[in-house]
Symmetry: D2
Subunit: 424 residues, 4 copies
């Protein structure tokens, strides 16, 4: 770690939570340089839905490299890309009656969001984009303008006024229908809300505190977009690629967004890749109007193609559903067992967590879990949510073990508070 | 190609210039699906300075994968990262008496530029950033605001007013000293130029038409930045990593920028990686204030570490210098031989080209070269420059062969114009 | 009118509603060039609260001019300005236990708002300003950014992103407490609402459709501003100077804004004048940091001083209250009498009106009233409100007559619809 | 003065330079409350070209008031407005073969500039506007974005990025042709200069330090605007209304701007009035798209109509020319006489001044002049210019006297420096 502390910028963060040097990883297990083993409930912040170093993907990747398969090619045509395009179309789009053109921006989520915003503005000729409270879409300037976190926004260093925040599902409590509210602003020509190019939405706000929109809310949001001539962008970067139980997180809602952003687990192997799906009528880009040196990263196409094959049968979806139920039951039990936490179970599918009233507790739970060799993250505007993001492919036993460690960690944190209260 | 045409977005561009499907690549050679062989004078737009699939890097990468080395880890500490940090420090920074903290943003050039701009704004509390005419720094909103190309800027879809363009070295002809001009604006409190956070510079404007700044201009620019309390950012994404003959493109000028952005050939193998070098006193980031899912991409660290070893001796630099001389001589000869082209030799080191008065010619040269199995790009605001970007490691023979093809292509384009004039 | 049509820009508007050439005016009466007489329920859009050409103000003004009193002096010290400052302090501020520094921006309302916004940003170092749905604060760029009307905002021709609209009192119906809503956005660090410099408010949205905020809402708004460290600006340009029954429109609410903007009826005689009241601790301007050629317009100081004397006794306030009651009773009677209008009585004091469900009716009522020699305006985002703005000093008889004409006009419009319905 | 110091905001400025209370004024003479007389070389910062309280204008104004002529009418049709429109057309436009529609924005210069910018953006659909170094166009947000002064710009409190500064005539010394420079930026699609809606220009930069553009520069600027499809706005607020010897300051150059802004001396009597002249084809405003309560101020129309009559014969222009020559000769003599000042004579017509190398001297000259009962201002980014702005109608004797006082004041300041140097 010394070399990290000396040479890497202060901006580093996760290495501060888990201050060991990792060497190898496989499935749901990480190993450090001292030979310790860790159970991974973090999964690369959603980039490792299929676990670490999936053997089949690895085999394909190494094969490709050994054959001198072309690695870097910008957006030239390659066999690896053609295979990916075909597979995505056959395995994902066609069975869902979807028709989209595919665009490969720079291979990170925020590049996909930037491309989506640019396209929406080009199509509509409008500049504003509506985003939601507690949204997170990335750290480059365009993506920040539609993100909610005050600290991250401030990091921009300039006023980022093209995004307009509106209340997400449930933001104002149960009595207020936030779609109705948004509709009021859009319908009233005196509201001060300029007609927007697009509304950008996460179906589950993973970074924002694991709030999940309801199916009905998503449907009414799409209807509202259609009625007002606004493009609907779904940022499915963290919630997509199976995380909620279906490949796209919005399949249950039955909606068809105008633009969809994918990244994180798209390559399946943790390799950088991003994809923007565009309704064919909206594909009005000029050649090269948006580009990037690492767009169309071939090794990632190779592993992604293999990852997509997991969606050819309903098996994976069934497994996710079962594991999600396990997590849900366990979290609800903990929330009931320890009412002093005032815990709320949040999330959907295998992106779930416990929102704790006192924002100081979740970070301590993360620490206590790490002491017990469980890698676990927090989220939410004040880091108040214990966030579970296990690989979708985790063994059921390991899942149970992780949940037990979480309960132990909660208890440890609660116990450690007793003396504090006693001494008061 | 059919699948590409049907499924990939209209934004695709290079696959239109070279409409074949590539399969394999090695060194300076690309192969298509029909078994044709191409000589690569494009080198991944500067991402493949060491050629395709360097055997030693490939060996290290495959070894790492086979051992289940950790692939994806955000900014957790890993052995691969520590080794890279150490190697970069020992091989690159220390011998050059440089001291920088290293930051890994999302693994693309534009993410590095966005991070640099944010940091400069945080350090200075100011919002404006000065960039130069014909600059290119990337396609996300922050990077676009400091880029010059009108079409790309327009793609933003919103007014991008935080960047201010100033004339690059030579922009106003020989009589006007553009540093003096910039100084006038900065010194005069009535100029309308708000005090900027930073000045961002390419030492060679690769996309902007291969204009190279002189050593003296770069030195005076740094002096001006110091005098006015402005941070100096060098975007060395395309010109760095040896392209101009030294590892950093600004070594000859003897300057030490406050912030340096690297990407493209940093990983050596075409894998996505980006790095921001920060003067230690300026490393005021809070943990996680800028982040990204694919920051700190371990496979890229593995190949990058191997690539850096090429800089342990002066051998590579010497080879680049020799090849650059070969290119220079050949281009000057062509410019003299065909005065009707009104060609100007531009660039520095192994990023060189011929700027042709008539903007319609360069694209035709590119086509003619492709017919002769040479991959070659154009650049400049109107695509008027024939741009040579061979791998630094190209065989001298192949380099000669490529230069011959360029001359043949020029001739073919010139000849094809004769009938046109005759028939008129 | 011909010269107007030929030479004046298409931007002209009121001369299209009332297409006659006016010559003279006195009290509540206007005269046209053909000798016709009109009853004025428009009062210069609130600039003529004391009626046209008040004899005593006129006498003072003519006297001043005849003595060669200095007319134009920027912000030099003049006897006319000193007398105004003293009178405003003695008659208005001191009796209300208020302490403000006075600033004279350019002599229009929008200049006052621009100055207030600049000062709030200077004091807080923040850029955003919260305004309310259906707000109207002026037509220059800064004021537009906090105004709600879509057409007016679009006129800016650039994205005006520094203002953020929030729901005004009652905007989301009775069930939603809009202060609670605003508080939620300000308290939640993930809301995407950057900490604002100020909140700017009208107590009655005169242009926005005559919506009046409740006393409790205004008090809670001030409390919220204090709690979050946000400056509270009240734009009292149209609702102030007695229009709601007290000199400031917020006196009943008992609040003390940080900054207050006045203009319109401040000079009493229709002469351009604007005033910004600033809590003494916030008066951090540097000399000349905001200025304007016509700031401190002396003829307006002369008439304004005379106008302020009307506030030395409670008499005027009593008269306004009585007339407001007359208007209120009459409008409620009309709303009840003609339920087919689905009319809602809106406003406060002597800025009142009837909001009609069908937006096509109010303009017809205005026309019908003009045919009956009554000058009457509409307001609201779709012009759906019949707006009554009689001089505060109108004769009770004339007030009754005007109300009768309004009822006649309503009837005429309703009758004219009968055949339309019959023929359907 | 005590009441001013206690009650008026710190923003007050001119009353600090001339700390006496003024009471009356007539022609070129001001009187204070102690009966002292001052010679006015400031003329209301250009708002009093015809001197104070011109007897004929005053007679017309008082007559109008006594007859209950309508004072406040927004943009309703009035006899006063019709008469002004006709007179402006007959006396000013027609004899100059000009055809413009007239728009009355709020009655201050900055409101006129804001209207012009909005219209240019509407006509072209573009957002950027080019302005010049050391430009001054007003203090509201839109006008500030095209002004050069750093302190004033900073006062905006938000980044004002829609304006782009370009070098004014002579800004880069004699060797650089600034029109050629601007042309380079506009022609080069890689320059980073987005295509602008308009270029806004002062022919003489009165606030910016009395720099006057040459006739040839203005002509080439117009040609460049035409060639690039950019609207040309001339802000003739301070330089117009006869200040440079002709009614419009650009008559000698023979150009016809697309939009012209007038204010300051337009009313002739120091009453607030502003006018935007619009080429008829560009008059695409919708009714009311820009408005303001005090637009179309009738008392100002009355005096303005009388002021325009002074332009029916060439007499006034002849007098200005003669007086300008007197001023010029005197200033050049002073510059020669006192070479230690390193003084440069600047300006055109009767807006002239001495730019002094040492920026501390001009304010002292202003003070010394005031001790000698001469009212005189400074201008320029550092206040380094002694600025002469006498009424155009000043008596030749008074003009001579004022020039003598200036020389005496210069001498007094220079003498007072002697001991300083001696003691050093």
């Amino acid at each position: 770690m010394q070399v990290i502390n000396e040479l890497e910028s202060e901006v580093r963060s996760y290495c501060r939570c888990w201050p060991v040097t990792f060497t190898r990883a496989s499935g749901h297990t990480l190993y450090d340089s001292k030979g310790n083993e860790y159970l991974d409930f973090f999964a690369g912040a959603g980039a490792l839905n299929y676990g670490h170093n999936d053997p089949e993907m690895k085999r394909k990747l190494v094969e490709y490299l050994m054959e001198d398969g072309i690695v870097h090619s910008l957006d030239m045509a390659t066999v690896a890309k053609e295979t990916f395009l075909n597979t995505f179309n056959e395995v994902i789009l066609k069975p869902r009656q979807m028709s989209y053109k595919m665009m490969f921006p720079g291979p990170t989520g925020t590049n996909a969001v930037e491309a989506a915003l640019k396209l929406a503005r080009k199509v509509t000729g409008r500049g504003r984009v509506i985003s939601f409270t507690n949204a997170f879409h990335g750290m480059t300037l365009g993506s920040l303008s539609v993100s909610g976190n005050a600290t991250k926004r401030k990091g921009a260093g300039v006023m980022i006024g093209s995004g307009v925040p509106m209340p997400y599902d449930g933001y104002l409590g149960d009595k207020v229908d936030t779609i109705e509210y948004l509709d009021r602003f859009l319908t009233d020509s005196g509201s001060g809300m300029d007609a927007p190019a697009a509304i950008i939405t996460e179906t589950v706000q993973a970074e924002g505190g694991l709030r999940a929109a309801s199916t009905g809310w998503l449907q009414r949001l799409q209807e509202l977009c259609h009625r007002h001539g606004i493009l609907h962008i779904v940022d499915d970067i963290q919630a997509g690629c199976g995380r909620t139980g279906t490949f796209f997180s919005f399949e249950d809602a039955g909606i068809k967004p105008d633009i969809v952003c994918l990244s994180k687990s798209l390559s399946g192997f943790g390799l950088p890749l991003a994809l923007v799906l565009i309704r064919p009528e909206l594909d009005v880009w000029n050649p090269g109007e948006h580009n990037g040196t690492f767009r169309g990263h071939n090794p990632a196409f190779v592993t992604a193609t293999e990852a997509l094959r997991r969606w050819e049968t309903p098996e994976l979806a069934g497994q996710i559903e079962a594991k999600a139920a396990t997590v849900d039951t366990a979290l609800r039990a903990m929330a009931n067992e320890y009412p002093e936490l005032k815990a709320q179970v949040r999330g959907r599918g295998l992106v779930k967590g416990l929102a704790l009233r006192n924002p100081k507790i979740a970070p301590k739970v993360r620490e206590a879990a790490f002491e017990r060799n469980l890698i676990l993250e927090t989220s939410g505007p004040r880091g108040e949510v214990v966030k579970l993001l296990p690989p979708l492919t985790i063994d059921p036993d390991a899942l149970e073990r992780g949940l037990e460690i979480i309960e132990e960690s909660l208890l440890a944190v609660l116990d450690s508070r007793v003396p504090a209260r006693a001494s008061a």
